[in-house]
């Protein structure tokens, strides 16, 4: 009996210990304000570690912690559900941002002076992402990315190929490349998300930027707006490998790096992966010319990283001081050097060479947000495009798109239409 009691006691004690042991709450250091940033790009962790170090070395009254965890989106959600909000979150300008604004998780930062230096086009992009118009600004755009068509510069120079500026020129170019026995494009559609790359860069040219918002308001349908996008997307794919769904993103990057194709329609984010296979490769990019009139073409660019102060943050002033530090020109330059990104701030920055072909669009602000930033991820538009690529049935694709959109956006559509009834339509 004694032994029994002893063992039960040990078991009970170990369980109790497990309950009590956990680390005590953080000590309130007198005079020093803690600011925590949780940002979603682990690939930029080295940069953010440096920023953190430099900031803390120069500031006595604020202690900054920047975490760049793997799988940050899961971590953010579990922390939100615990009401354990970081002071600032670094996220992308996509539908999650729309949700967060809608859920009142983010604070209005319209009184942040640094916003004056941010390019208006990126502020507009964020404003458009709000499900229903809200007063205020809810994120500070930091850097953007751009997607179009990457090309093998050396191969182009060797054959004397010209950068196409219209759809016809693009198709002619593809025919010419093909006639020389080279594959024009590579694709990695087994990784479904890559299906969105050619899709998005064509959609910005061919469909109105506010298509999704108009559909939500009940004013139009995707069938009316996306037919040309779908058809031209299929045409592009026909210049790729025979069975594009067989290959993955990594296969496509490797193939393009090894000169198996002349072009690869993907965002600038793919460049590091390509260069890892072939470090000496000369890569440049151009804007996907979806229209026959070059004037109508636009660069596919969206906010890749923004900083948003959470509504729960108790030290907004100190948070702004941190944002000021992040927004300093030399820090932004360091980030874009590290990540081949496009700055959202006005000013002279040196862009990565693979963005040369897009520079004029970036400078003039001729850019349009990714359409997929409006797509709810659970609708799996990427998988639907993959299905389109396999079946080549545009009508079925469009019908399903419209039908599924209604299903997956039911709550949003109701919210938008209620808002419009109250306030009258935005135009």
């Amino acid at each position: 009996m004694k032994k029994k009691k002893a063992i039960s006691a040990v078991l009970a004690a170990s369980m109790l210990a497990a309950v009590i042991l956990p680390g005590c709450g953080s000590d309130e250091n007198s005079g020093v304000t803690e600011i925590e940033i949780l940002q979603y790009k682990p690939e930029a962790a080295t940069y953010f570690d440096q920023v953190e170090e430099q900031f803390n070395a120069t500031h006595d009254d604020i202690h900054l912690t920047i975490s760049s965890p793997n799988d940050a989106s899961t971590i953010m959600r579990t922390r939100f559900v615990r009401d354990d909000y970081p002071d600032i979150i670094g996220i992308g300008g996509d539908i999650n941002y729309s949700y967060y604004v809608d859920a009142d998780i983010l604070a209005d930062v319209s009184d942040y002076p640094g916003l004056a230096d941010v390019k208006q086009s990126y502020l507009d992009i964020l404003e458009n992402l709000e499900i229903t118009p809200k007063d205020g600004v809810f994120g500070v755009p930091y850097v953007a990315n751009a997607a179009g068509i990457l090309y093998n510069k050396d191969m182009f120079e060797e054959h004397g190929w010209q950068i196409p500026e219209s759809w016809d020129e693009l198709i002619d170019l593809c025919e010419e490349i093909k006639s020389e026995g080279i594959l024009p494009f590579y694709f990695g559609f087994r990784d479904t998300w890559t299906c969105l790359a050619p899709w998005n860069s064509l959609a910005v040219d061919l469909a109105p930027a506010d298509t999704c918002k108009k559909v939500n308001a009940g004013e139009t349908t995707f069938t009316d707006n996306y037919r040309e996008v779908a058809e031209k997307c299929l045409e592009l794919v026909s210049y790729g490998p025979d069975d594009p769904v067989a290959y993955g993103y990594n296969d496509a990057c490797t193939a393009f790096a090894n000169g198996e194709s002349a072009m690869y329609p993907i965002g600038s984010y793919a460049v590091p992966q390509i260069l890892s296979v072939n470090p000496d490769m000369n890569i440049d990019s151009f804007v996907t010319p979806g229209n026959d009139d070059p004037e109508k073409n636009t660069l596919n660019s969206g906010v890749d990283l923004m900083f948003a102060v959470t509504a729960a943050c108790e030290h907004k002033e100190e948070a702004y001081e941190v944002l000021d530090f992040l927004m300093e020109d030399e820090n932004i330059q360091a980030y874009i050097d590290d990540q081949n990104a496009v700055p959202c701030k006005e000013g002279d920055f040196d862009l990565a060479p693979m963005l040369d072909g897009m520079q004029s669009y970036i400078e003039s602000g001729n850019m349009t947000d990714y359409q997929d930033h409006y797509y709810p991820s659970e609708m799996a538009v990427d998988a639907q495009i993959q299905t389109l690529i396999i079946n080549k049935d545009v009508d079925a694709f469009l019908a399903k798109f419209d039908k599924d959109w209604q299903r997956y956006n039911r709550d949003i559509i109701r919210e938008v239409q209620e808002y419009n009834e109250e306030h009258g339509t935005s135009d």
Binding site: I7, R82, D84, D251, S276
Partner: protein, 280 residues
Amino acid sequence: MYEKMKARVNWPITILLFIGLITVAFPLYMTIVIAFKQPTEMTNSISGILSLPAHWSLSNFAQAMELTDFWRSLGNSLLVTISTVVLCLLLHSLMGYAVGRNKAHSKIYNLIYLFIVSGMFVPFAILMMPLAKQTAEMHLDNWAGVIILYVVFYMPMNLLLYTGYLVNIPIALEEAARVDGASTWRTFWKIIFPIMKPMHATVAVITALAVWNDVMTPLIIMSGKGQNTLPLAQLTFQTQFGTNYNLAFASYLLALIPIIIFYVICQKQIINGVVNGAVK
């Protein structure tokens, strides 16, 4: 029993098993070759990917160890895995005994058995958010919480294993002990627990493997605030737009070694199990 040891080696089966090994050897060969190659050696051609690396250098392994903070992550993984396995062996075998010896004649115990075993089928996704909240409220958003959750998560499977094993252990053994005046508690630790050795080894292997590879639980419970386990640290190799397969493979090969050693040790226990003799 011992004359069996002298039985001659069954060569046909040995040969068949070695031939079947190709299904394991081929993927393992690819893993090793890629772990030694540089990213520039990656290609899409079959001969290219199967060729030996240009240089046999351990630099990928060194770099992978640095990136994952290997020794510390390994320490964390070992700590969590060992604690979980020890707790599971003690608690789950007890539970298996209590439930297993009663479920045949007691409705309540049978119900408890089905109740816990069906816990195995709860999709983890539905528990994630509530658990994240609950562990934070209970101040269990740390290693202790992770270990407790593992003990709970693997309870259904281990209960199934222990009660299944118990069916083949004759009750006569315990009754003999009881006649000698031993309490049920004492009988369990003195007789049943040692007899279950092969099952302990099996449970230990299966539980250890599940814990060793698990990413989700520490991710959800500690929400990036604690230190990494090996699989958490290994997420570093995969970012949204690129994966360094060479470093990742090197790292996975390193993570493979401790668990294989553990398995080999446990296997000996399974084979040397005393059941055959004891049951007689």
